[in-house]
Point group: C2
Chain length 288, copies 2
Amino acid sequence: MAQASIGDSEFDRDTAVTQREPGVYDVELSAGWSIIRALNGGYLLAAIGRALGDALPHPHPFTVTAHYLTPSVAGPAVIRTESVRTGRTLSTGQASLFQYADDGGEVERIRVLASYGDFDTLTDDVRTAAKPPGIPPLEHCVRASAGPWTPGDSSLLDRLGLALDPATAGWAAGRPSEKGEMRGWFAFADGRDADPFSLLLTVDALPPTAFDLGLPGWTPTIELTTHVRCRPAPGPLRVSLATRNLAGGFLEEDAEVWDSTDRLVAQSRQLARAPRVRPPRPNAGAGN
Amino acid sequence: MAQASIGDSEFDRDTAVTQREPGVYDVELSAGWSIIRALNGGYLLAAIGRALGDALPHPHPFTVTAHYLTPSVAGPAVIRTESVRTGRTLSTGQASLFQYADDGGEVERIRVLASYGDFDTLTDDVRTAAKPPGIPPLEHCVRASAGPWTPGDSSLLDRLGLALDPATAGWAAGRPSEKGEMRGWFAFADGRDADPFSLLLTVDALPPTAFDLGLPGWTPTIELTTHVRCRPAPGPLRVSLATRNLAGGFLEEDAEVWDSTDRLVAQSRQLARAPRVRPPRPNAGAGN
């Protein structure tokens, strides 16, 4: 198979938006980006991000906040954008993704508020106190694959080359570290390199930190804010997730994405519902 | 002076919103919350947060994102809210703060997207890996006061009891640590205790981390997202700010707020423009 490239890949085809009228875009959501029966929230955000990048005068997502309202399903959707403010170096816009109810009415799935800029106009200065995560080389990591923890359609995993740091993969064998961490390598299976839009997927692609906290259940995102900080270099990405505060049934999950030149290319934080913990059944194994 | 209380304090009076019609609120912005000639972004957000808390069926801000569009000034403003989705445990809403142009037209200052819930319905479980910041006792901290680094109206400082950890206050004497950190105690000068709305001010009230990076200039917020995680206990708050990545003229600033019971009550992150660094003048002292 020929190596895919930015603009000619599964990800590009499945996030392509078609302008219906100024500011309004049609998109066909693909089931190929499902995880645990649902479409991945980062995939959906990448499509919305592309629509805003077309609608606004600046091309690149600098800071993007999404509130997830109702579950999206594969099939047609429409993205309605609004230009909120246009400045010299930044523009702010809003977008909503809608799907169709049985009666033909529109149901809002996701609402987004974002500011866009142009990475090609920024200076090269970098002062980063953050350190890249210490993830073992790819060949020593654990390929993320479907299992009992991913019931239903999880074809997202076929589209990605995700390999987890063994130190944060123990949950799959019933031995979570309980530190609330998840680290790994991210790449597209078809070889497409990263760009600012695909980073909107990358921050939400690893298994949730809740798994490493010993809470292997559905962790729905309420709100996800991503700062894309520069255009990523070609090559695989390293992703580090951490949860520091699980309280009252909610948790935050922070992500950092590092490119092959050791540059911090994206930072995100989401607020999610913690999985409901089922009491262990009698006779259940240690991993349950 | 009698001790102020939640509901009867400067903060409450200056963030009070009056319903004009369903979902539309008038507010009189007070110059008393100015810092370096501008109204503090957290103060403005608290007023918007109160309007949304009235308009939505759930009372408390769980996650609030604000994009700052144009500078607000003291005087009348109108907050227009929209209910985006109402659920059983969470509601999502949007709000815009407008002021008036010379021709009477409305100019949008801030746009907000937020999800609200009810802290009184949450469970008491807490699993926090984060540790409270090691800030010296209040009497060993440095009272934040106006100085050459706060030109113009900085009356915000009169309304707050802010005391900085000496380790992060060196910038005021020309010796920034260059770590990008800021830590201190936060209280209202009139003794009002914290509540979920005042935390929207607290996350944005300390001097910017840019000062500690040796960049003592205006650091305008582009976007600020705050997660309020519970109702704070009475007593002073500890606030810890950190910037880990200054790149291309932008920086992120993370805040954590801890209450008197050592509970992490709010987490925030903002994307801001880094101050433009002026080249040192010949003959200028080491601190310039």
